[in-house]
């Protein structure tokens, strides 16, 4: 082997960090947090080691679906500035490697979750991976502007799986945690789509901003936020909620609804003038909105442990 060929290989051969980047570690942090909350607020105690393995499997399963998504979307990732540096478009990882890693980790995480906990949790994880990789990435993302709405279900499953790890079942509480993330996803992503405007259109992804225009998107953000409010408040009146959650949720929803209303009132001229400051603010508070809601559920569970939580 000549030195020149060695230098060519260095650009082709991936390091450990490149494979890790395929698993979308930032998305994984939200998955780990919501799954952990779903598991901890459940009324059934789980051995700490089993809980650790359960959350690890959910995180690895989410990462596996991320790798499958990057394999499928490598062509459009290379077009968009936000995703052009992902391992496949950057030339660090071969598409086949991402596919192999995604499939292998999917199998490992589902089987291990089944062995460690129960069949329902493993089945929900398998369905989540299928939903994100096949239903969202392959079927919806390039076909309909409702991609974000229906695809949001994939991100909404983790707390439900966490709950199933502990209880072995599905209940109104776990469905409400699912619904909270499901309804939150569209306004969150549409706020993002408003200020990264040129990217999705260049890649041929039919985001609502491209197909129906920005005025309609602003209306949709407000409409989905109005629908989100009762869904977010509802857990307060179930077994996992209480006054702390209710108070936190009322404040967060008031702020989020106010932000959505501000975004709805603005037109493109005003948004261009201040560099989409309000849209960016709405996107930022949407992140804390979800984290703090689930944090409040965790606080309620902690209070219940000391006999002072709930109603």
């Amino acid at each position: 082997m000549t030195d020149a060929s060695l230098d060519q290989m260095t650009t082709r051969e991936a390091g450990m960090g490149d494979y890790f980047a395929l698993l979308k570690p930032r998305v994984m942090s939200l998955v780990v947090f919501t799954a952990l909350v779903g598991l901890l607020v459940a009324p059934v105690a789980v051995h700490p080691f089993v809980a650790f393995v359960g959350v690890l499997c959910i995180a690895v399963g989410a990462g596996a679906s991320g790798a499958l998504n990057m394999w499928w979307d490598a062509d459009i990732d290379g077009v968009m500035a936000r995703t052009a540096r992902r391992p496949i478009p950057a030339g660090k990882v071969e598409p086949g490697e991402a596919l192999g890693l995604g499939l292998a980790l999917s199998g490992f995480s589902v089987v291990l979750l089944w062995l460690a906990t129960n069949a329902l949790a493993a089945g929900l994880l398998a369905f989540t991976i299928f939903f994100y990789a096949v239903v969202y990435s392959m079927w919806l993302k390039r076909a309909t502007p409702q991609n974000i709405v229906i695809g949001g279900a994939a991100g909404a499953f983790p707390p439900m799986i966490g709950w199933a790890v502990a209880t072995g079942g599905v209940s109104v509480e776990s469905l409400l945690m699912f619904a909270l993330i499901f309804m939150w996803t569209p306004p969150h992503f549409w706020a993002l789509a408003l200020f990264v405007k040129t990217d999705y259109g260049d890649a041929g992804v039919p985001m609502l901003t491209e197909t129906h225009g920005r005025r309609t998107t602003r209306g949709y953000i407000l409409a989905y936020t109005v629908l989100l409010v009762p869904v977010a408040l509802a857990p307060a009146f179930t077994g996992i909620g209480g006054p702390v959650y209710l108070l936190v949720s009322v404040l967060l929803n008031a702020r989020f609804a106010y932000g959505a209303w501000l975004v709805w009132r603005r037109d493109e001229v005003a948004a261009e003038a201040d560099g989409y400051a309000t849209e960016k603010w709405l996107f930022r508070i949407s992140l804390s909105y979800l984290f703090v809601h689930f944090g409040a559920l965790l606080i309620e569970a902690g209070l219940r442990f000391y006999g002072i939580g709930g109603w």
Binding site: L6, G15, F49, V53, A116
Partner: protein, 69 residues
């Protein structure tokens, strides 16, 4: 360009091999830990010993209680 004994590529491969090694050790640890947890949560071990190849009615819980053990 001189040929170096240690190329950057070797370092990257070593890092990858070390990573895979650690992941495998982690997997062994998880399977071992799960086994320990599940065995410890099985409850009274006599339920499994009672009919281990040969029926031993004398170590059934009721018989042992009657014998004062």
């Amino acid at each position: 360009m001189t040929i170096r004994v240690e190329h950057e590529l070797h370092g990257r491969r070593r890092g990858r091999n070390t990573g895979v090694g650690l992941l495998l050790v982690g997997l062994v640890g998880i399977v071992f830990g799960l086994t320990v947890v599940k065995v410890l949560n099985l409850g009274d071990i006599r339920q499994f010993e009672t009919f281990d190849h040969v029926a031993r009615p004398q170590i059934e819980p009721a018989a042992m209680e009657a014998a004062g053990q």
